[in-house]
């Protein structure tokens, strides 16, 4: 225990300081965060102004701190200096009295720093900024277990760490798992029985990947990443006209196994491609999916807010970089400068939103109305760095460029064409080139995350320094390299590789790479519709609106007009066709953790709260599906309660009930209705947490 410290306050005259009762200042808790917040941007692994680094204790002790000697520690003299030119930090508020006293106390106590503190490496050495290498496939002791390269990486690591593999899940479990994973629907009774005869899961995978339902399932994952919604938000929350064509484009792209590099090119620059078509121009709807206030508080700032939406989303979706943080100043934690940010703004700055006053307009291409931006001229407007992000505080002019940390040499952007600046094309071409280390890693990780419940990198939108490190870096690089060079960016090949691995076929448990993860609300709802026999398979076109309870509509300023519900048949289509209105999310979707509709969502949140139970147990939707489900069971097996239970279980869970389960349910049916039983089944943990 230390004595209270009375400061000899030579430089801070006139300021009354109360000594802190300090029980030893903790470097990790008190000092490091302060230095990180105020000093490390300029004195860290990224920049070393004055050749000084303050991002590790050992470096601090080598330079500006003498333990126990406050007077000799330049750290103190610089932060308390009365000379404006030498006082640190040079920008922002001065350190508070409390902060200065913390530093003094820490030094006075001997400037204790942890011995094992890692000195941050220069950002240029960060793993994800390195070229993607083709990792060597590791040797394994057990030659019998693995089926493919993924297994080799996983097994080698298990063997080296002395862990054993998990057993393979049962055939029934695997069948339900692969159906829900790839198409978001459980297998029918007939499909179950076909599979029990063949036992050929690889064939099932091939079959599912060829079904239209695959695109409808996996498009939604991409829509999460690109902040998709059908309306703009704010007062009018107006519908984005024909935006659904973009959603259909994504479904088709997946079903046709459009190579992912082409998918990137089309979304960023589908109007600038030499072989552009209506389809590729629909793809650029990506750029216009953001929220938009048609009555902005500050029109000039609003323009940059819209560009920020595009730059931020592009950065996260394709590069896994939080570039948006460099809008007002150099990124505090990443090697991304304001210049990097505004160079990307310069790429999109030529875009204009087609509108007449508050009303948005579409672009017409070959008689098709498209929801996209317009690039009206091949001459780009000048783009400047905005100091502190202020649109009236112009800094240096910038030209299109990619983040400097990612390249040794800037890619050359194409010359303007006769109609557009071709800047987006330049960016997109670099993104899908070998010289970009991020895009392939980022998408491979997204796909892995969806199949396993967690990514190899757990921060799917952030591969930067603040992001999580990869759990299996060699595997990730091998996959990314394979995806680009051997699979030619084919998503279906990537799915097949992952799903045929033994790794993916392990049982789920806390110890396994396969985790229990609740189905997304879309898959829950679609599975209910499928089980009840009500699923309307109609594809594509304008979004539909399921009924919303009056109690919810009443809380809107436009309660009579805000939501014109579709009829039940139309509303029984798959959930990807549900209208996403930013100001009024269908309650069941909102409660069950629909993706954020405003910014890119790297992974669905999973909350477990009572309102979800209310929605799924008492809500009208489940009630109805339970009734249809019961009617279907009666149709097929009549009034024999044992047969009803068996069929219900098989339909919903793809397995026979155990004798205990069977007994409980038949007893239940002695007093309660089949509809009630169906309601219970649709609420089971097993129904929403696939094996």
């Amino acid at each position: 225990m230390n004595h209270p410290i009375i400061l000899s306050c030579t430089l801070l005259s006139a300021v009354l300081l109360f000594p802190l009762m300090v029980l030893g200042v903790d470097y990790e808790k008190e000092i490091k965060p302060l230095l990180l917040e105020r000093c490390v941007v300029c004195h860290g692994s990224g920049k070393q102004e004055g050749d000084l680094r303050l991002d590790a204790g050992s470096l601090i002790l080598e330079s500006v701190v003498v333990p126990g000697e406050i007077e000799q520690s330049e750290l103190i003299s610089r932060v308390v200096s009365l000379d404006e030119d030498s006082r640190m930090p040079p920008e922002g508020a001065r350190l508070s009295e409390r902060q200065i006293e913390l530093l003094r106390s820490w030094i006075d106590d001997g400037a204790i720093v942890p011995k094992d503190e890692v000195i941050p490496r220069p950002p240029s050495e960060h793993w994800s900024f390195q070229p993607i290498r083709q990792s060597a496939i590791p040797k394994v002791k057990d030659k019998t277990w693995g089926r493919n390269e993924i297994d080799a990486f996983v097994l080698a690591k298990l063997e080296s760490e002395g862990f054993s593999t998990q057993p393979q899940a049962s055939q029934n479990d695997l069948l339900r798992r692969v159906y829900l994973d790839l198409i978001g629907l459980p297998p029918s009774i007939k499909e179950q029985s076909d599979f029990s005869k063949s036992g050929d899961l690889d064939r099932v995978i091939t079959d599912l990947l060829s079904r239209p339902e695959y695109g409808e399932r996996w498009a939604r994952h991409w829509l999460d990443v690109v902040r998709y919604a059908d309306s703009n938000g704010y007062e009018r929350d107006a519908e984005k006209p024909f935006v659904w064509r973009y959603r259909d484009y994504v479904i088709n792209a997946l079903n046709n196994d459009k190579p992912f590099d082409r998918f990137v090119l089309e979304q960023l620059a589908g109007d600038e491609l030499p072989d552009r078509s209506v389809e590729t121009q629909i793809a650029t709807g990506f750029l216009r999916l953001g929220h938009w206030d048609d009555e902005p508080a500050d029109p000039l700032a609003d323009r940059y807010d819209q560009l920020d939406d595009i730059v931020s989303t592009t950065g996260q979706a394709f590069l896994g970089l939080t570039i948006g943080c460099a809008r007002c100043h150099d990124h505090k934690f990443e090697p991304l400068s304001s210049s990097d940010y505004y160079s990307l703004v310069a790429v999109f700055n030529p875009l204009e939103r087609p509108r007449k006053g508050r009303t948005e307009q579409t672009v017409t291409v070959d008689d098709t109305e498209i929801y996209a931006w317009r690039e009206p001229s091949a001459k780009a407007p000048p783009t400047h760095i905005l100091k502190r992000g202020s649109p009236t505080n112009l800094g240096d002019r910038v030209e299109p460029a990619v983040p400097a940390i990612l390249v040794h040499k800037q890619p050359s952007f194409p010359e303007p064409s006769s109609t557009t600046t071709q800047r987006r094309l330049g960016l997109a071409q670099w993104m899908v080139s070998d010289s970009n280390p991020l895009t392939a890693r980022v998408i491979v990780n997204r796909v892995w995350q969806q199949h396993f419940g967690q990514g190899l990198v757990n921060t799917a939108n952030d591969f930067g320094i603040m992001g999580a490190p990869p759990s299996d870096p060699e595997l990730l690089d091998w996959l990314a390299h394979w995806f680009m060079h051997d699979a030619n960016w084919s998503m279906k090949k990537l799915h097949t590789l992952i799903l045929e691995s033994r790794t993916w076929r392990m049982v789920k448990s806390q110890e396994s790479m396969m985790r229990y993860r609740r189905l997304e609300v879309e898959a829950i709802r679609d599975s209910m519709l499928f089980v009840s026999g009500q699923l309307n398979r109609k594809q594509f076109g304008p979004a539909m609106k399921p009924r919303i309870p009056v109690a919810v509509l009443e809380a809107n300023s436009d309660k009579e007009k805000i939501w014109q519900a579709s009829d039940e048949r139309e509303a029984s289509r798959r959930s990807i066709y549900v209208f996403i209105k930013r100001g009024l999310i269908v309650p069941m979707f909102e409660t069950l953790d629909l993706a954020d509709t405003v910014s890119s969502c790297p992974q669905r949140q999973i909350t477990t709260v009572a309102t979800q139970a209310l929605s799924l147990f008492n809500g009208e939707f489940t009630q109805r599906q339970a009734r249809y489900f019961a009617a279907k069971l009666r149709d097929e097996v009549g009034e024999d309660s044992q047969k009803q239970v068996q069929l219900a279980w098989q339909t919903a869970l793809c397995r026979e009930p155990t004798s205990i389960e069977l007994k409980q349910m038949t007893e239940f049916l002695e007093n309660e209705s089949l509809e009630e039983l169906c309601r219970v089944i649709l609420n089971l943990n097993e129904f929403v947490y696939p094996e």
């Binding site: 704010y234 948006g324 921060t459 999580a468 436009d558 309660k559 309102t611 309660e672």
Partner: protein
């Protein structure tokens, strides 16, 4: 132990922190409990520790939707009478959406000094005026926008953009829930409709959905899907829940390590308990006549808001953290948005709310809840001291200066802080931005606004944003 223990989740938190946050809100007790043994900020119950001892445990936000006029309520401007009918030539930007600008218009309402403090309040609020010594009026509020949608968003989330968590979400995230059988963040809207921007105003934004505001109705079934479905008896409901529980528990037996599965089982029981507790709160049948009269339940004008105020008090009593009541809903004259006739408009909306709010204050005091409860009153902005168009007693939006009041726990009542200019257009003394008010509310709830953050898109996001904000020190006891 697993070799695949994740390092971080999507937002750069540990999985444990993530689950804690995911479960820590509305009725997330089960999950929170499971995580609590190692949770950093968590105590063993679902309440979390504030940064420092809180003055207030609960907060009631009386949202006067549409924007009440400061010069007709709490900001007396004698100069307006002097210049009444003259055109305005000052430099404050007047009006919104290119609406017509008329002449300076004096307030038709009389101001009087009330209580020992002599706080000036217009005669729109005769009942509230009896509590003048409890009110801390802030006459120097200002915001960044002239539009309702972005204005409501800013008042609720600190940002003019959609997609951000609300004040109530931040409190739920920061402080957890006191009573897992009720939501920690409750919203009650006006029978004429909700605020412009609807659910964006009680959204949890980028936070988990468990922190979003829960719509609560003052009659019938207070929460969505709370009632046992029509045609299902209570006995059947219980039998079904029992079967569900039993089947789920069997399923869990071989998967006992999984906390999410267990939490989901618990959530159905919580929902069941919520049913009885929430229904009790809105059951006012046993309320005595004197209380009903006090809240104005016996008068058509005040019955709806009175009922909500009474339920609010009961929710507070039951441990709900943050309650937001909307006065006014839909558009224009159905709200405080008195564009065409601010006089009639304000008489209506003040008339509906004055008596119930005064009753709520009295009742909180009577029940011993006053010392724990913070009240906030105001709209998304104020109204211009000019009329809107000549000879029309309407007033347009004024976001440069307007009045709000706070009262209750930790608040020094009987005073007015700050001032607008001579005519009431713009805050000129002790200017108080909406985010300063948020910082002050958090402070009173025991939270340092600079330290309450949520990681999103590479930044530690805060309710009060990145600019320097100030706690309104003069307002504190």
């Amino acid at each position: 132990m697993s070799r695949f223990l994740p390092n971080r989740t999507a937002c750069g938190q540990t999985r444990r922190e993530f689950l804690w946050q995911a479960g820590g809100g509305f009725a997330g007790l089960a999950l929170a409990d499971i995580m609590a043994t190692e949770a950093v900020a968590a105590s063993s119950d679902s309440e979390k520790q504030p940064h420092f001892p809180a003055k207030a445990k609960h907060c009631i936000f009386l949202f006067m939707n549409g924007g009440p006029s400061q010069v007709d309520t709490f900001d007396h401007k004698p100069a307006l009478a002097k210049y009444d009918g003259q055109s305005y030539s000052g430099d404050v930007e007047v009006g919104s959406n290119s609406r017509p600008i008329g002449h300076l218009m004096k307030s038709p309402f009389e101001f009087q000094k009330h209580g020992q403090s002599g706080l000036e309040i217009s005669n729109l609020f005769p009942h509230l005026a009896q509590h003048a010594d409890d009110l801390c009026v802030i006459r120097s509020m200002h915001s960044d926008t002239a539009a309702h949608a972005s204005g409501c968003l800013q008042m609720n989330t600190g940002s003019i953009f959609i997609g951000k968590p609300c004040l109530g979400s931040w409190l739920s995230y920061g402080l957890g829930t006191e009573n897992e059988n009720l939501p920690s963040f409750v919203v009650m809207t006006d029978p004429r409709g909700g605020p412009i921007g609807s659910a964006s105003n009680w959204s949890a934004g980028y936070m988990p959905a468990s922190h979003q505001g829960t719509l609560f109705r003052s009659g019938g079934t207070p929460l969505l899907n709370l009632a046992t479905p029509e045609g299902t008896t209570e006995r059947t409901q219980r039998q079904s829940l029992d079967l569900l529980k039993s089947l789920n528990e069997e399923h869990l037996q071989t998967r006992s390590g999984d906390s999410e599965l267990l939490a989901r089982i618990e959530s159905y029981e919580l929902a069941y308990r919520m049913q009885s507790e929430a229904l009790d709160v809105v059951d006012l049948d046993k309320t005595d006549v004197a209380t009903r009269e006090m809240y104005g339940l016996d008068q058509p004008l005040t019955a709806d808001f009175g009922r909500k105020c009474l339920i609010t008090k009961r929710l507070i009593q039951n441990g709900v953290r943050f309650i937001q009541l909307y006065s006014g809903g839909g558009h224009q004259e159905d709200t405080w948005d008195g564009h065409s006739d601010c006089i009639t408009n304000h008489k209506t909306h003040a008339g509906e709310t004055d008596k119930p709010i005064a009753a709520l204050i009295a009742d909180l005091k009577r029940s011993g809840l006053w010392e724990d409860t913070l009240l906030v009153w105001g709209g998304e902005f104020g109204r211009t001291p000019t009329s809107e168009g000549v000879d029309k007693p309407g007033r347009d939006h004024d976001w440069h200066g307007f009045s709000m009041w706070i009262a209750g726990a930790g608040v020094k009542g009987g005073q007015a802080i700050g001032a607008t200019d001579e005519l009431g257009f713009k805050a000129v003394e002790d200017r108080c931005h909406v985010s300063d008010l948020h910082a002050t509310i958090l402070h009173l709830m025991g939270i340092d606004h600079t330290r309450l953050s949520y990681p999103h898109q590479g930044l530690n996001q805060r309710l009060t944003g990145v600019e320097e904000r100030h706690i309104i020190q003069k307002a504190l006891t």
